[in-house]
Symmetry: C4
Subunit: 291 residues, 4 copies
C-alpha cells in the first residue's frame, strides 16, 4: 500500500490513468489551451509553414508564371510561391509579387480568407491562454494538528500571493482514505471534513482553515501511524472571485499523511508597522512551533 | 401511446415541435453558433463571394478605368474589380491594382471598413464556436434498478471522457411520465427524483448516481410493464466546472423505460495498477451482472 | 394618481428619471453596447472619417511631397493624404502611395498602430453587441386571476420563443404599489409574491407561473378597483441558462393593474400530434376563457 | 492606535503591505489590465518600438541590399529597415520596400507572424480593459445611527450612478475592530453585521441598508468614543448583475469610525414629478437631518 501515488498532484491535477474508449480524450481547444507555451509556439510555427507550403504548391500547380514579379526576388519558384502565400495569409500583401489571371487570383482570395480564419483561431487561443484566470494561492507546506478550543483541530494556512483582491472565498476539504467495503475489498473512500468556517468574505491577509476534530471527524482517535496505514490524503478545493480577471478562480491542493505535523501550532505572520500598515510575511506561512 | 417520441434526444436536445408566432425562432447568433461546421464554412464562403461581388459592381459602375493596373492582370473587368475588392476587404492590398480618383477611393475606403467589421463577426463566431464549453460525459447505456441498502435504487453511472478536471458537479434527475389530470385528460407530468447525493466535489473517477426507491419514489411498486405503460423517461441535467474552459459546462441525458434494466448491479470499473496509479476503464462503464 | 407611469417598461427598462450628479451617467462601453445598430454604425463612420482626417492633416503639415505617388491618383493633396491614411489605418496598404522620409514614415507608423488599436475596440464592440446574450421569452399579454386548488391564484404564462435550450430557470415576482408610510405620505412599496414554484429545471414547453392567493397575499380581499386605486404593478424577473450563449440570460416583464384579468383560466397550448411529437402553439399563449 | 491606516481604501483596495516571497506578486495579465491608461499606452509604444528595432537589426545583419527600394525613401539603412518592419508587423505592407532572397523573406515572414500574435495580445488587452465590468455605485458619505423600529439601526444609503439596470443585488457588511486575544495581544477582529435585508431584486432607486442594533450587535452599548477606541471600520461588499456588461459586478466600500454620524436620519431623495415619473436626486444621497 505504501507505493500508492498521491491522488492530487502538487500542481492540482488528478493522478488517474484512464483506459480510453474512442479518441475523445481531449477536446482540441482544451489541448491547445493546456499545452506549454513552448509547445504552443512550436505548433503555431509548424501550422504556419505547412499551410503556406500547401498554398505554395497550389500556386506552382497553377503555374509560377501567373505570379508577376517571380524571379525578381532572388528565390526559386517554390520560395517565391511560399513567401507570396505568407504575404497573402498574413494580409501583409507587399505587392512586389502579385497574382495574374483567374487561377492565381482565386487561390490568393482563398488564401486570404483562410489566413484570416486561421489567425482568428491562433490569436484567439493566444489571448485565451494569456488571460486564463489563475489563482496564485500560497498554501502552508504542511497541515498541522494543533490545539483548538478544548480539543484539537486540523489546520492549514493559505494566502493570496498576488496583490489582486480575492472576495467571496469558499473552501471544501475532503479526507480521502483506503477503507474496506462490505465484501472486504479495499476501496478508496471520501469523507467531507467539517470546517470552523467554509467561507470568507475577503482575503486581504492569510486564512487559517480549521477542521475541529470532534467525535465525527475521521481524525478522532487517529495518530500519525493510523493515517499512514489508511493512505490518508486531505484534499482542498478553494474558490474565490478575482477582481482583475473579473472571474471566479479555483484551485486544488492536498496534504498526504506525511505532510501533516502533529501537536504543533502556527506562528503569527502579520503585524502592524510603525506607519500603521498591516504587514503580511508570506515567506513565514509554513512556520510553526511546538504547541 | 407506444409511438410517443422520447422527450430528450440522445444528443441532449428537446423533442418539441413549435408552431411559430412571428419570425424570431432563432437569434442569428444562435443560428450561426449551432449550425454544423460544414454549413458554417459554406455560409462564410457565400457571404465572401456575395460581398465582393457587390463591391465589384460598385467599382464597375464607377468605371473600371479608375482602377489602375486593370487589364494587366489577365482578367476581364469584373474579375479585376472582384479580386481588387477581395484584396481590399481582407486588407491584403497588393497594390498591383489600386484606386484612382475620389469615387474609387471612397468605395475602397468603405470596402476596407466593411471588411474589417465583417471579418470581426466571422472570426469572432469562428472562435466562439471553437471555444464553446462542451462536456464530454460518458453515461452508462442503461440505468439499472439494483439492490441498495435494505431496498432498491435506480442507478446510472457517468464519467468524464476527457482528461480535464471537473469540479463542483451537480445532478438533477426528473421522472417524466404520462399521467391523468382532474378532467381525465392524459398529461405529461414531472416528478423530481430524490438522490443519495446531488453534488460531487470533483469527478476524477466515475460517479454512480443513486435514486433510493422509497415509498415516495414513483418507482415504488413499479415494474418494467408499469413504467412502459406510463411512457416513463428519466431526465438528467448535469453541470460542473471545467478548468480548461474556465466555465461551467452542462449536459442533458435521458433513459426511456426500455433503457432501464431491472435487478442487476454494475461491475467495478477501476482498480490500482502495480505502480500505485488508479486505473479507470471507461469502456466498461455500462457493464453489469445479475444482482 | 392615474397618471403615474408604469414602473417597468415593456422593453424591460425602468421608468426612473435621475437628477444626475457629475457626468458618469453612462460608462462609455455601456453606451456603445446599448445604442441602436443604426447609431452604432453612424458613430463608427464618423469616427473613421475624423480619425483619417486627423492623420491626413498630419501628412499635409509634414508636406504632401513626402507621399510618393501623390498627384498620380487624380486627387487633391488632402484627398491623397486622406485615402493614404485609410489604407494605413485599415492596414490595406496598396502601396500606390507610400511614405518618404522620417516624418511621413513616423506618421504612418503611428497611424497603423492607432488603426489596429481603434479597430480592436470597434470590432470588439461589434462582436460584443452581436453576441450579447438575450432572452426571447414570450409572456402572455395578461396575467389572470384564476381558480387554483380550493381558492384562487394569480397566474401568467411564458415560453421560449427560440429553439434554444433554457435550463435552471428561476422566477421572482414582486408586487409594487402605492401605500402610505407612518407620516401619511404616499410611498411606493414592494412585496415579494410567494410562488407555487420559483424554479424550473428546464423549459421545453410553456411555464404557468402561479402565485396562490392566500391570506398573506396582497391580492387577498382585492378587486379590480382596489388594485387600480393602489396603482399596482406586478414585476417579474426571470433568469435561466441558455445553451447557445453559454451564459445566463435575464429578462424583466411587468403587468399593470389593467393587464390583470379576473376570473378566467388559460386554455391549453400543447398537444401530441399523430407522430408522437409534442406540439406547442406559441400564438395561443395569451388565450383564456371564462373560468 | 490612532495612526492605524484604514483597512479598505476609498477606491475599494486593501491597505496591506506584503513582504513578498518570490516574484509572483502580479500575474502579467493582471498587471497590464490594472495599470493606468497612460501607462498602458506607454508600454504599448515602447514595446512597438523595441520589437521593430529588433527586426530592423535582423534586416541589417542580413544586409540592407536585400530590401528592394531601400535608399529611395530618403532614410538611412536602419530607418528603412525599421519602417519596413513596421509595415510588416502591422501587415500594412505598402510594398514600396519589399524583401529579396531567402533571408529577408524569412525574417519578414517571422515578423508578420510575430506582429499578428503581438497585436492579438495588445488589442485583446485593450478591449479587456475597455469592457471590464465596473460598478458605479454611489454610497452616502457617512453611515448614520438612526432610529429604527423601537430601537436604533446603523444605516447607509447607496444608488446606481448609471442608467444601467442592476438586479439581484447582495450586500455583506462586516465590522472590523481591534480586540484582544487570549494572550492579551491586540488583534484585528471581524464580525459580520446582521442586516434587515441582504438582497434586493433590483435597484432602480436607492437602497438604504439597515443593520438593526440589537443585543448581539457590536454597536449595542457603543458610543462615538468607544468605536474610535476600537479603531472600528464598517466594511461593505456589494454585488449585483449588470445588464449591459452581462456580468456580475462587485464593489467594496467602508466607513471608518469618524464617518459614522450618531442620532440623525436620512432625508428622502425621490419623489413623483407632474408627469408621473419617479425622480431620484442622486446629489442628495448623503443628506441627513436631526433625528
Amino acid at each position: 500500500m505504501s507505493n500508492r501515488k498521491r491522488f492530487i498532484n502538487k500542481d492540482g491535477s488528478f493522478n488517474v490513468v484512464r483506459e480510453i474508449r474512442g479518441i475523445r480524450e481531449w477536446h482540441i481547444y482544451q489541448w491547445l489551451v493546456l499545452m506549454s507555451w513552448a509547445r504552443f509556439f512550436a505548433v503555431t510555427l509548424v501550422f504556419y509553414v505547412v499551410l503556406n507550403s500547401f498554398f505554395a504548391s497550389l500556386y506552382l500547380i497553377n503555374g509560377i508564371e501567373y505570379l508577376s514579379g517571380a524571379g525578381e526576388d532572388g528565390l526559386p519558384p517554390f520560395g517565391t510561391a511560399f513567401f507570396f502565400s505568407v504575404q497573402t495569409l498574413t494580409t501583409v500583401g507587399y505587392g512586389s509579387v502579385s497574382p495574374i489571371g483567374l487561377g492565381a487570383n482565386t487561390i490568393a482570395a482563398m488564401g486570404a480568407l483562410t489566413g484570416l480564419l486561421a489567425f482568428a483561431l491562433i490569436t484567439g487561443l493566444l489571448f485565451a491562454r494569456f488571460s486564463k484566470p489563475s489563482a496564485s494561492i500560497l498554501f502552508s507546506n504542511q497541515a498541522i494538528v494543533a490545539p483548538y478550543k478544548d480539543g484539537k483541530g486540523l489546520m492549514f494556512r493559505l494566502a493570496n500571493q498576488r496583490k489582486s483582491m480575492l472576495t467571496n472565498l469558499h473552501a471544501e476539504v475532503t479526507a480521502s482514505w483506503i477503507g474496506v467495503d462490505e465484501q472486504g475489498r479495499s476501496k478508496r473512500q471520501y469523507t467531507p471534513l467539517k470546517l470552523e468556517r467554509t467561507s470568507l468574505t475577503m482575503l486581504p491577509l492569510s486564512w487559517t482553515v480549521v477542521h475541529p476534530i470532534d467525535e465525527e471527524s475521521p481524525f478522532y482517535d487517529s495518530s500519525e501511524q493510523s493515517i499512514q496505514a489508511k493512505d490518508l490524503e486531505v484534499i482542498i478545493i478553494l474558490e474565490g472571485y478575482d477582481d482583475t480577471f473579473a472571474n471566479i478562480i479555483r484551485t486544488h491542493y492536498s496534504y498526504k499523511y506525511d505532510e501533516i505535523i502533529w501537536n504543533v501550532k502556527f506562528n503569527p505572520i502579520f503585524h502592524f508597522d510603525k506607519e500603521g500598515y498591516t504587514v503580511l510575511k508570506l515567506n513565514e506561512i509554513s512556520n510553526y512551533s511546538e504547541a
